[in-house]
């Protein structure tokens, strides 16, 4: 049922990063931690689980131009799990939509960077945060692209707990029925929601079967493997008449071993010392990975 990820990418997207993918991911994580160190704190765990997905999309897959964020022919990315906003902001900064230094205002009064995506931020498409809105919007974007006979593609990043919202399944059914091949959903399957495992709240499994039965192509991938994410996203037959979903297996809080896989990582207000400790751990891990 779930297709094997393609090993090559015949029409593979270019890597736009000036650094190695892992370095970009590290910098995004550092920015996330910095924002969680603000007075307001931030959604740490679910942003950290998204990092490789965001870096892969923004540095490789998406046909976008930071100098022309409103280009009508751009690919569109909607962060349906709007609480991952600090991850999105960090990835947009890392892609060059605005200077990373701007994120220092996060958590201060009148900052452009609110805790859920603010469309006034360059590169942010829609305000999301109440869960279950991204996929219906994505169906609209994808339908518009089809009516325009445009190759524009629409990517929607969904949380897994978010899939308990019924509107997702209204949209999934519509997308399958309409055959929107240029619509791609990525589920951040970190398996946790605020109270604990998703399967202990309202079970989502068999998740791949569910998407498949709604008429979607389904890929299950390691959501922290940038090469695999790239190959899979590049291998999607965007011209075909079925939408595609990537169920990306991730770890909530990824990058900070002492909170990884823990529901309590959902929101953090890091004091100066915990922030410095987190940043040191991220860098040490990165050095270790580089040496390996």
């Amino acid at each position: 049922m779930s297709a094997t990820p393609p090993t090559g990418s015949p029409a593979g997207s270019a890597w736009t990063g000036d650094l190695a993918p892992e370095e970009h991911a590290l910098r995004v994580r550092e920015l996330i931690v910095e924002m969680c160190g603000s007075a307001e704190g931030g959604h740490l765990g679910g942003s950290m689980s998204l990092v490789e997905i965001l870096v892969t999309l923004y540095r490789s897959v998406l046909r976008i131009d930071p100098a022309a964020p409103d280009d009508p022919e751009r690919d569109v990315l909607l962060l349906s799990k709007g609480h991952g906003a600090i991850g999105l902001y960090a990835a947009l900064a890392e892609r060059g939509f605005f200077p990373a230094e701007d994120l220092a205002t996060y958590g201060r009064p009148e900052s452009l960077f609110s805790a859920h995506p603010n469309p006034a931020v360059p590169g942010v498409e829609m305000p999301t945060g109440s869960l279950g809105h991204g996929l219906p919007l994505g169906v609209g974007f994808a339908l518009a692209a089809r009516l325009d006979a445009s190759p524009r593609r629409t990517f929607v990043l969904l949380g897994d707990g978010e899939l308990q919202e019924g509107s997702n399944w209204e949209a999934a059914m519509a997308a399958g029925s309409l055959g929107l091949g240029r619509l791609v959903a990525v589920v951040d399957r970190n398996s946790l929601q605020i109270t604990g495992p998703t399967e202990n709240a309202v079970a989502l499994e068999p998740l791949a079967d569910r998407w498949h039965s709604f008429g979607w192509n389904v890929h299950e991938v390691d959501g922290h493997d940038i090469a695999l994410l790239r190959a899979t996203l590049d291998g999607i037959p965007y011209d075909a008449d079925r939408p595609t979903v990537l169920i990306a297996r991730t770890v909530k809080g990824r990058g900070l071993p002492y909170i990884e896989g823990q529901a309590r990582s959902h929101y953090a207000r890091l004091g100066e010392r915990p922030k410095k400790r987190a940043l040191a751990i991220l860098r040490a891990q990165s050095r270790k990975a580089a040496q390996a």
Binding site: H133, P136, L137, G140, L143, A144, L147, S167, S177
Partner: protein, 329 residues
């Protein structure tokens, strides 16, 4: 309780509508077919309403999309389309648009100030004998709360066409409250209709009747006739636009006449009557405001729209009584 046709509660008039008068939703449907042909950006999103059964969309059929019975998705898809440069019309019933899909209407459409037109049929008691599940007695209260949203309530076939054509020029979202079956036309000679501006259907120096929707406006006109017989001259204002509210007309009414009575096919809480009372209360004038609307109960009785309107007290008699009491107070 069994409802029988009596003199006070006549049998539903809908059983024999005048065939020459189209319903507001039919007027809307025909206009939309015209818009689809005239403007490439227009998209018709249906929620399996059946309103378009048998319509030949010709070369525009790709822009008619039935999204099935799923109203949250309907609103979100419309917002996505609009954000991508399209002009979507969303078709559903008023109660589903404003209660079932409210958050999507609020966040996807109103928050983004997108040019989505919500064609909300079965407004008020128009669903008639379909019952309380299909009545929409709260939609004006809900929609007038939402920033960026324009709220219009056509009164008859001609005003439906005029309002929708004017709404089509607006850059933001519009909620259009439509009916189900045909309702009687307004008497000839009404002044031209301008969105956002109350339509003066009758002049009068003593009291002002502020009404919205087909039956309430007709009831207000009828009441004004009755009052004139008793020497009371009532101005009648058709508030076809509930948002933005023509506060100037209300201020004038409160300052120049002795009482204001509102009439609507809606719960008294939150609708045009509330909007009127809020506006006039802030003026600091002693002009009383009275509301003719449904009280704090679901529609009483069963039957067609005109029967339920009457049965639930939205009548010329009720208006006359309110005027009399207001003047006596």
């Amino acid at each position: 309780m069994t409802t029988v046709a009596t003199e006070a509660h006549p049998a539903p008039a809908e059983t024999a509508p005048a065939p020459a008068i189209p319903s507001s939703r039919e007027v809307y449907r025909d206009l939309l077919v015209e818009f689809l042909a005239a403007d490439e950006r227009v998209v018709c999103l249906d929620s399996d309403t059946g309103l378009f059964n048998g319509v030949d969309f010709g070369g525009t059929s790709a822009r008619y999309v039935n999204l099935g019975i799923a109203e949250q998705n309907l609103m979100g898809v419309a917002a996505g389309l609009a954000k991508a440069g399209r002009l979507p019309f969303v078709n559903t019933m008023a109660t589903f648009a404003t209660t079932r899909a409210l958050e999507s209407l609020k966040l996807d459409i109103a928050l983004n100030n997108l040019p989505v037109r919500i064609a909300a049929t079965h407004g008020g008691l128009a669903a008639g004998h379909l019952g309380s599940t299909h009545h929409s007695l709260e939609d004006l209260a809900i929609t007038r709360l939402l920033p960026n949203l324009t709220v219009v309530v056509p009164t008859d076939a001609a005003s439906t066409e005029a309002l929708i054509r004017q709404a089509q020029e607006l850059p933001g979202p519009v909620y259009i409250r439509l009916g189900r079956n045909a309702t009687p036309d307004l008497p000839a000679g009404a002044p031209p209709l301008r969105l956002g501006e109350a339509q003066r259907l009758r002049e009068g120096d003593d009291v002002t009747l502020v009404a919205t929707g087909p039956y309430p406006v007709l009831a207000a006109l009828e009441a004004a006739g009755t009052l004139a017989g008793a020497g009371i001259e009532a101005a009648v204002l058709n508030f076809h636009t509930v948002k933005p509210l023509d506060t100037r007309a209300l201020v004038t009414a409160a300052r120049t006449t002795k009482a204001v009575v509102t009439v609507e096919e809606h719960w008294a809480a939150g609708g045009l009557g509330s909007a009127t009372a809020e506006t006039i209360a802030e003026l600091g004038v002693p002009t009383p405001v009275r509301r003719v609307a449904l009280g704090d109960h679901f529609a009483r009785g069963t039957g067609g729209q005109s029967h339920l309107v009457e049965r639930n007290g939205i009548t010329a008699t009720a208006i006359v009584n309110q005027v009399t009491e207001a003047l006596r107070a």
